[in-house]
């Protein structure tokens, strides 16, 4: 990973400031996935495997065209297939390309306690640095999209890198390049949102999809991967895409107020100790204890 040439704006579990934090962003990159023109061909699945040299795994038939039930540590990009009946009885076969959403406010990064195991670059890409990963799995809990997966042998976690190695050389991600129908687009977030809104409008006006819209959830600050959905009011139909994803409260509390509460408790405890010492001095044996005890059997 050419981290030296990328500018980092967030680092997981990092004590102290991050050089790129709060700097003016150039633009954030964005992958636009138009589910209304996806034909589930899986060229993107294969491209991801080949570009990243991921090893083959075993799969079994599971009553679906879907390659496997969910992403794996060695399968970062998966088309989810769902047969969905519309109100008028017609059928929709929904195909959603599922991979890391590269959230602006990543739950994985917030949850990660290991310094530098997860970074976010100024272009918005969220990347795992396996060398710093301690295998705790907190990132898995922190992700509202259930994306990161752990290699059971090495205890390192993996996910889509939005091809940061390609992007930093000015190329589009491998999946984008391989898509035959042009359902995948790549560019700046602004451009992609513009394209997405135009497409959603076209669907509403010409294709009998009155609820067509763009999925760019605010609960995670917006995402580096946005979808055009036939029905933006029902993202769950697309293989459990959460309607309102956000960083889990437990993680927010833990890394936010609880952290400070913890700090307060710790410092407060130390201060309290010191104040007590000042006030009450060191613990000494009580006067009473030194008083003569009556001889004999005084009670």
């Amino acid at each position: 990973m050419s981290q030296a040439t990328l500018r980092v704006q967030k680092i997981s579990g990092h004590a102290g400031s991050v050089p790129g934090e709060d700097t003016q962003r150039e633009y954030t990159v964005c992958k636009l996935i138009d589910t209304t023109t996806c034909i589930g061909c899986k060229a993107c699945e294969v491209a991801c495997m080949e570009w990243n040299d991921l090893p083959f795994g075993e799969t079994v038939f599971d009553n679906t065209y879907q390659t496997m039930p969910e992403t794996r540590w060695n399968y970062w990009n998966l088309i989810l297939f769902n047969e969905h009946e519309r109100e008028d009885g017609s059928l929709l076969w929904l195909m959603r390309k599922n991979q890391c959403m590269h959230c602006a406010e990543p739950g994985c990064l917030a949850a990660c306690p290991a310094d530098g195991a997860i970074v976010q670059y100024t272009n918005g890409i969220v990347d795992f640095q396996q060398a710093n990963c301690i295998g705790c799995g907190y990132c898995i809990t922190g992700c509202p999209f259930d994306i990161p997966k752990m290699n059971p042998k090495t205890h390192r976690v993996f996910k889509c890198t939005l091809c940061t190695d390609r992007v930093s050389e000015g190329l589009e991600p491998a999946c984008i390049k391989s898509c035959p129908t042009g359902c995948l687009h790549f560019g700046s977030k602004d451009d992609m949102l513009d394209l997405a809104e135009k497409r959603a409008k076209q669907l509403r006006e010409h294709s009998n999809f009155p609820n067509a819209g763009v999925y760019d959830p605010k609960g995670v600050g917006g995402t580096g991967v946005v979808y055009v959905l036939h029905d933006a009011t029902n993202p769950e139909a697309y293989g459990g895409l959460p309607k309102n994803p956000h960083v889990p409260l437990s993680v927010k509390l833990w890394k936010g107020p609880l952290k400070w509460l913890g700090n307060v408790a710790m410092i407060g405890g130390l201060v309290g100790l010191f104040v007590h010492y000042l006030r009450y001095g060191p613990k000494s044996r009580e006067e009473e204890d030194l008083a003569t005890k009556p001889e004999g059997g005084k009670s």
């Binding site: 023109t37 075993e58 038939f61 047969e83 059928l91 076969w93 929904l94 195909m95 035959p180």
Partner: protein
């Protein structure tokens, strides 16, 4: 394709039927999506299953497999009844106005005129136009009262039926025997109710599709265009040819042929199958679609007379009848094949060509082998056992051959046919077939051209050399040929000259360079030539610029006239990669070479009205330039460049009539001038149109004991077979990547049927046809629904074909090791001989 891949982006309306391009042509499918995105084009998908193509459709109709003619006939009926036709196009560019002979009878009872039940063949002499002139407004009385006496040939015998040079016509389209009125009458039986009965598509849904598709001609609109896209979902039926015919007729009726975004677009199945058919990898044609000689062709002159059409049209119109140049193509081909050994004196080596005396198509070859009549088979990249039909018959056939040579990149079912499940070790010992396996090269290890569905010849370079001892195809074939020639030289034999005199003048005869072969195919001048009008010259030994230079006097040679122009003195045109598209129509004139003559959309004269002005100015392909008195354009005009519009030359220059054929006269189609719905040979119902003649009377069944057919009594489920995106026929089961994507064979079962039979997804099922048993896991899906076909509850199941008994999963015993084509029937289309892989009967049980 009459049009092409990129051209699809120009369309307003798409009907995809008998094809699943999202899954089987995903890269080409990009243009379908492009049309939707950039032009709000609409997509209608008609298929027995809701496929990945259907998932992006605006309208989907689930159709009973094998009933496509009924659906398309219904569309023709709808278009005529609702006046959604291109009137001027119809009148001037088709044979709608031609008057047909009296005595011609439509198949209301399932039979056309001229059927002889004894021989089960048709006498096609009534399927013809009348001789005559302008019969406009004269009605039926003007026709010849009695059929004319048949013309006699030199030998006193009646000449075979032929088209009249001077065809009778009625420009008012009212004559009861004119093609238009016959067409209307033929499809008057194909009402929405009848379509529902036959296809299972509910009437309302059908009418929605019909309304949408024909909306391009609503209110007399001539600007909009619709295209029809199909693949083997149409061809792999006994009604395949006629299904495509019906689509072509519909497109002529709607005036869509020749127009950007229109046409009849066949999607080929294999990367170079178009090349294979162009260069005649079929028994009944020669390269460039010339017809093969038959025994009755006693000399070259007789042969040419038989295969060279004469124009047949109304005397007021003109017809270029481009096939009249057949002699030039045929002589040039003989010069390519036999070089100096083909001379005028020896009839251009015509006697070296085999005279094809019967049907030698695929299913006949395996039938011959089964009967013990085939000594040996060379199988190159062709897995005959898995392809079927009736895989078990093919396995039995191989047992009877003396030898088998397999050229492949993996061991496949054919090269290990003795290991087919069910053959015991004792039985294996009895098999006397000697099997030779030649390691061949994969596609990335070979250079040469692929020809795609859009008729583009694209040169490709080899990415890496073949591994180990594997050899490229041309080396394998060259070595075999040269060895055979050596044997003939040493030992003589029956008729050696045909082998010894064949031209083989390559720099490296043992491994001919494909660039040299490509140059041969393009053709070259054998003497100095000059064009009398332009004064352009081509010297002896130079590549010819195009087929217009070919001669019938032995001064030119050419391996395939259609490819002439692909490798000229300027170089290898097929290797060009020019990305300019000045017209924006996706023509890309400098990218590769599109046959014929680098034109991209065929019949493009029809994209203009009779005055030579484009029907849609926003999609100008070609037009008549009044100033220069020539046809010009963004695309190469598919027409005689200086033919003035007022001379009314027909745009369909490859037909003797010069116009598109709504009615196909004598012989060109074996089973009827108009398509008629006949039931697949194994069908769940009797044909509602004529129950007493349910099936096509000239479709023949094969007659060995291995040819078994089932009826609805014993087999109640309609079965279709198909292909997935993730696999490519039978070789990707050897590739870990593809196996990871789809690891096991499965059977798509309608959820409603699964409920009835208490089948759960993943359960092992047994599918049985009259020919064999197939086992795989159930995929329970909502994408195939229960249907009502002629009032009967009917279920369809779908089986992807990609597995057999040799592959990654098979070798680990992870599958039942059955090939899907164990189930399919040995019954074939009577025109193209394609087996009925996609509509037969089975029964379904838990395994």
């Amino acid at each position: 394709m009459t049009n092409g891949w990129i051209d699809i982006k120009n369309t307003d309306m798409m009907l995809i039927m008998g094809g699943n391009p999202a899954e089987n042509h995903p890269c080409g499918f990009k243009w379908v999506v492009e049309a939707k995105r950039t032009r709000n084009a609409k997509l209608i998908v008609v298929d027995p299953r809701f496929t990945r193509t259907a998932s992006v459709a605006d309208l989907f109709c689930q159709i009973r497999a094998g009933s496509d003619i009924a659906f398309l006939g219904g569309l023709i009926h709808y278009a005529i009844e609702n006046n959604r036709i291109a009137k001027d196009y119809l009148l001037n560019y088709t044979n709608a106005a031609f008057v047909v002979k009296d005595g011609f009878k439509l198949p209301e009872d399932g039979l056309y005129s001229g059927f002889d039940p004894a021989t089960q063949t048709y006498d096609k002499s009534t399927w013809n136009y009348q001789e005559g002139g302008d019969l406009s407004g004269k009605g039926a009385a003007a026709s010849h009262a009695a059929p004319a006496k048949p013309a006699l040939g030199k030998d006193g015998k009646p000449l075979p039926p032929h088209l009249p040079e001077n065809v009778a016509y009625d420009l008012s389209l009212q004559h009861p025997n004119c093609v238009f009125q016959l067409l209307r009458k033929q499809y008057s039986r194909y009402t929405s109710d009848m379509v529902e009965r036959i296809t299972g598509v509910p009437k309302g849904q059908f009418e929605k599709a019909a309304d949408l598709f024909t909306s391009v001609r609503k209110d007399g609109d001539t600007k909009k265009v619709a295209t029809i896209i199909y693949a083997v979902g149409w061809t792999q039926h006994t009604s395949g040819t006629q299904t495509i015919r019906t689509a072509a007729m519909l497109q002529l009726l709607l005036g869509n042929v020749g127009r950007a975004g229109g046409g009849v677009n066949a999607l080929r199945g294999h990367s170079n199958i178009q090349g294979a058919t162009d260069l005649a990898g079929i028994f009944e044609i020669l390269p460039g679609y010339l017809k093969v000689p038959v025994p009755a062709d006693t000399d070259f002159k007789t042969y040419l007379e038989r295969i060279t059409p004469k124009s047949a049209k109304p005397h007021i119109w003109d017809s270029w009848n481009y096939w009249s140049n057949t002699p030039k193509f045929a002589v040039s081909l003989m010069k390519a094949m036999y070089g100096d050994a083909a001379t005028k004196q020896n009839d251009w080596a015509f006697h070296y060509l085999p005279k094809v005396d019967r049907n030698y198509s695929w299913t006949y070859i395996w039938d011959d082998m089964y009967r013990g009549n085939v000594k040996g088979l060379l199988a190159f990249g062709m897995n005959g056992v898995a392809i079927g039909p009736d895989s078990n018959k093919n396995i039995e056939a191989l047992k009877k051959a003396d030898w088998l040579v397999v050229g492949e990149i993996y061991p496949d079912e054919t090269s290990e046919f003795w290991k087919s499940p069910g053959i015991t070790t004792d039985e294996m010992k009895k098999i006397q077939t000697t099997v030779y396996r030649l390691p061949c090269a994969g596609f990335a290890e070979k250079d040469g051209t692929f020809v795609n569905s859009a008729r583009w010849l694209q040169w490709k370079n080899a990415a890496l050399p073949p591994p180990g001892d594997a050899k490229v195809d041309q080396e394998v074939l060259a070595r075999i040929f040269l060895k055979v020639r050596e044997l003939y030289q040493k030992e003589g034999g029956k008729f050696p000259d045909a082998i010894l005199k064949a031209s083989w003048s390559y720099t490296n005869p043992l491994n001919p360079s494909l660039a040299e072969v490509a140059k041969e195919i393009n053709g070259k001048a054998l003497a100095d030539l000059e064009d009398p009008v332009t004064k352009q010259q081509v010297k002896a030994g130079q590549q010819v610029p195009g087929y217009a230079w070919l001669k019938d006097d032995g001064t030119t040679m050419c391996g395939n006239w259609l490819y002439s122009g692909s490798f000229t003195e300027a170089g290898n045109m097929t290797a060009r990669r020019g990305t300019e598209d000045p017209s924006g129509l996706g023509i890309y004139p400098s990218w590769a070479f599109s046959w014929p003559a680098n034109r991209r959309v065929m019949y493009n004269r029809a994209s203009c009205d009779v005055d030579g002005k484009p029907w849609d100015p926003s999609r100008k392909q070609v037009w008549w330039n009044e100033a220069t008195q020539k046809w010009v354009g963004n695309d190469v005009p598919d027409f005689k460049a200086d033919s003035k519009p007022k001379d009314h030359m027909g745009p369909f220059i490859m037909n003797p009539e010069g116009v598109g054929r709504l009615f196909v006269p004598i012989g060109a189609v074996a089973d009827g001038p108009f398509p008629e719905h006949y039931e697949p040979i194994e069908s769940p119902i009797d044909n509602p149109l004529h129950p007493q003649q349910s099936n096509n009377p000239i479709v023949k069944k094969f007659k060995t004991d291995a040819d078994k057919y089932g009826t609805a009594k014993d087999y109640n489920i309609v079965c279709t077979t198909y292909r997935l995106t993730e696999h490519y026929h039978y070789w990707t089961k050897n590739n870990p990547m593809n196996v990871q994507l789809v690891p096991e064979p499965f059977i798509e079962v309608p959820a409603e049927l699964a409920d009835k039979m208490e089948i759960r997804g993943g359960e092992l099922l047994k599918v049985t046809s009259a020919r064999g048993v197939y086992k795989a896991k159930a995929m329970v899906t909502k994408r195939i629904k229960r249907m009502m076909v002629d009032g009967k509850e009917t279920f369809q199941i779908g089986i992807p074909i990609h597995w057999g008994y040799r592959g990654i999963a098979e070798d680990e015993d992870k599958t039942a090791k059955t090939a899907a084509n164990i189930l399919s029937p040995t019954v074939i289309d009577p025109n193209a001989w394609t087996p009925e892989f996609k509509g037969f009967l089975v029964k379904l049980e838990k395994a």
